[in-house]
């Protein structure tokens, strides 16, 4: 398992963990076992079961649930979810990278304050903040009032319950998860390296692509994963801001568990997603070759 946050080159090679290390690790390992491995195992087991007429689990092995995942209707929703999450991730990256880079280049005191601004939203419940967006986006909400008073529009625009509202809500919710890991990488990026590249004839664009991007890649990768994965499974934003007009895979899974009471099928959808994400994570979060090579 790779660390989620940007890694630094380690020295010393592979030392055998001692008994004490295992004792110290025990609480965390227990936590992982009971709250990650076990539930996922149950989910995986359920996904191969069936349900009876009133929603109870019937323990008979069947791959039927997985066959149903491939139903064109679900594949369309799956595609749409990936598209929404992809768009959200792209927008977060384009907005978050310059912000993270800007913060990382400030002096220490200003850096702390700017980071605080990024994190302040976490102090309020996510649901309450999403309801606040309803107030902003609704017919006679803040956004329309502002646009009308600025004479940019003459009559209120329907923002709420549109794909735009969903994207706005998703970007709003996940932007900090893009900014923070990129900040962690950009903060460690030495100014001399950027200047050395410019000194050797690289224009701003090539300084960015040849030096800044490769050296902040661990942060970018972590940001992409931290935004893309939960954005795909998100159902609260699509419910509240999309008005169930644009169901995403998260809504479908939630439905299977809460309304349709088809846990085995919901579990199958969940397992498919978990595997997809594990694969994509392994792809983006590979330790770069230059960090893997051992010191002399």
């Amino acid at each position: 398992m790779q660390p989620l946050l940007p890694s630094t080159p380690t020295s010393g090679g592979s030392r055998r963990p001692t008994v004490r290390a295992w004792v110290l690790l025990a609480p965390m390992l227990a936590w992982l076992l009971f709250f990650a491995v076990l539930p996922l195992g149950i989910l995986a087991a359920y996904s191969f079961c069936q349900r009876d007429d009133i929603g109870r689990i019937v323990f008979s092995f069947s791959a039927a649930n997985y066959a149903r995942v491939l139903d064109p209707g679900y594949l369309r929703i799956l595609g749409r979810s990936l598209a929404y999450a992809g768009a959200t991730t792209a927008i977060c990256l384009v907005m978050g990278y310059p912000a993270a880079f800007f913060i990382a280049r400030r002096d220490a005191r200003l850096r702390g304050r700017l980071l605080l601004l990024v994190m302040i939203p976490f102090w309020t419940s996510f649901l309450i903040r999403t309801y606040a967006w309803v107030q902003i986006l609704k017919g006679h909400g803040l956004l329309n009032a502002f646009l009308e008073s600025a004479r940019l529009i003459s009559s209120p625009v329907e923002w709420l319950y549109t794909p735009t509202a969903v994207i706005i809500g998703l970007v709003y919710s996940f932007l900090p998860f893009m900014i923070l890991p990129i900040y962690a990488s950009a903060e460690k990026l030495d100014r001399d390296l950027l200047e050395a590249a410019a000194d050797l004839g690289a224009g701003p664009l090539r300084v960015f692509s040849r030096v800044a991007i490769p050296l902040t890649w661990p942060g970018i990768a972590a940001g992409i994963v931290l935004v893309f994965v939960p954005a795909t499974g998100m159902f609260a934003v699509t419910d509240l801001l999309g008005g169930a007009q644009v169901p995403l895979i998260g809504n479908v899974i939630q439905n299977q568990f809460l309304q349709a009471r088809n846990w085995p099928f919901g579990a199958a959808l969940g397992v498919v997603f978990t595997v997809l994400f594990a694969l994509s994570y392994a792809l983006v979060q590979r330790t770069p070759r230059w960090e893997r090579s051992a010191p002399p």
Binding site: P9, D192, L193, A198, L200, G201, S293
Partner: protein
């Protein structure tokens, strides 16, 4: 390929502070000039103005007769060896060195040739595939140097290039760096606070103080004929003596300090001094002779108050009757042995070794 640099009235202010204050300077093609000064003297800012990372408040920079003042760093044919080396950690030695050539869009075949040539020049053969964290300090230094010279810049800037190395390696690299600079023939500006490095490596030394160049000239000249008290004290050690002109006879001037000590100095154009004029003179510690027996000529007796063994030489601080303290540096073991703490020694210096550094007095030391 190599060009002269000219700075015309270059200034850089940060708010009310002038980091660089009206510097005018010409560096000849192929010359190695050192900017020497303590931290905060403006030498690093001057370097950043040259590389283009700072814009001057006023004045201009010319390279090979072309005004480059407004040009962005990547448009200047000026390459720098950074104090931190700033090697790209994600690139191998080979790719670090090739970086500048890739930016110039040199064709791949030529890049390979020139990188191989540079690798050989700085003796890094066999390490081409390593990454920076797999290299020693000296090896990193060589990579940084190869990376800076391989694009054949018009000017090479060296920012404290040896400060991260240990003393022995530093001395080796001084010689090595100078040899390479001569071989490549690139106009070079070296920034350092290390006077030994400055004297060992440069064609000329510019001593900087408070944003200005205090004195500019070949190392020997700046060392032996300092023109200001700052230069006399920063470059080597110095005994500064403030005194008034008592009498002028020919080239020799007799001086008297406020506490009554009289000595002679051989000054250029002594007729310019009137009796009573206040002057400051510098006497190098190694020019102050110390002896157990009376010395001929211009001698006086003094008490030994400090003695420090430095290896090749011994530093002896003496106090004359007037409570004036002077420092002597001697490699004469007999003289050093004779100097016992609290004992008396005979001291002398040649009048020609008392160098005028200011046309005003200083308070007696």
């Amino acid at each position: 390929m190599s060009d002269a640099i000219e700075l015309r009235g270059l200034s850089k202010r940060f708010g009310p502070v002038a980091a660089v204050d009206g510097v005018s300077l010409r560096v000849e093609a192929g010359e190695l000039l050192t900017l020497l000064g303590p931290s905060g003297c403006g030498k690093t800012t001057l370097l950043r103005l040259l590389s283009g990372f700072e814009d001057p408040t006023s004045g201009s920079i010319w390279v090979g007769g072309v005004d480059v003042t407004g040009l962005a760093p990547h448009r200047r044919d000026i390459n720098q060896v950074f104090q931190s080396y700033a090697l790209f950690p994600h690139l191998s030695v080979r790719d670090n060195i090739a970086f500048g050539l890739r930016m110039q869009r040199v064709r791949p075949g030529e890049i390979d040739e020139r990188v191989a040539e540079a690798v050989a020049l700085v003796s890094l053969g066999g390490l081409e595939s390593r990454y920076a964290h797999q290299l020693s300090g000296g090896q990193r230094q060589r990579v940084a140097l190869a990376r800076a010279i391989v694009p054949r810049p018009r000017v090479l800037l060296l920012d404290e290039p040896l400060s991260a190395l240990d003393a022995k390696l530093r001395r080796e690299m001084q010689v090595e760096l100078r040899r390479l600079q001569r071989k490549v023939g690139v106009t070079t500006i070296l920034v350092t606070h290390d006077q030994e490095e400055a004297l060992a490596m440069s064609d000329r030394v510019a001593v900087m103080h408070a944003g200005r160049i205090e004195q500019l000239g070949p190392g020997e000249e700046v060392y032996h004929r300092p023109r200001t008290p700052f230069v006399a004290e920063f470059l080597g050690e110095s005994n500064l003596v403030g005194a008034a002109v008592a009498a002028v006879e020919g080239c020799d001037v007799t001086l008297r300090t406020t506490d009554g000590w009289r000595f002679r100095a051989r000054l250029p154009s002594p007729e310019a001094f009137e009796a009573g004029a206040e002057l400051t003179l510098s006497i190098r510690p190694e020019k102050l002779r110390v002896s157990p027996v009376p010395l001929a000529g211009h001698a006086f007796q003094a008490r030994v108050v400090e003695k420090t063994f430095l290896g090749a030489s011994v530093r002896i601080v003496v106090e004359a009757d007037s409570h004036r303290r002077l420092t002597a540096l001697t490699s004469d073991t007999a003289a050093a042995d004779a100097a016992v703490l609290g004992g008396t020694v005979h001291c002398a210096f040649d009048p020609a070794d008392a160098v005028l550094v200011a046309r005003q007095g200083i308070a007696p030391a």
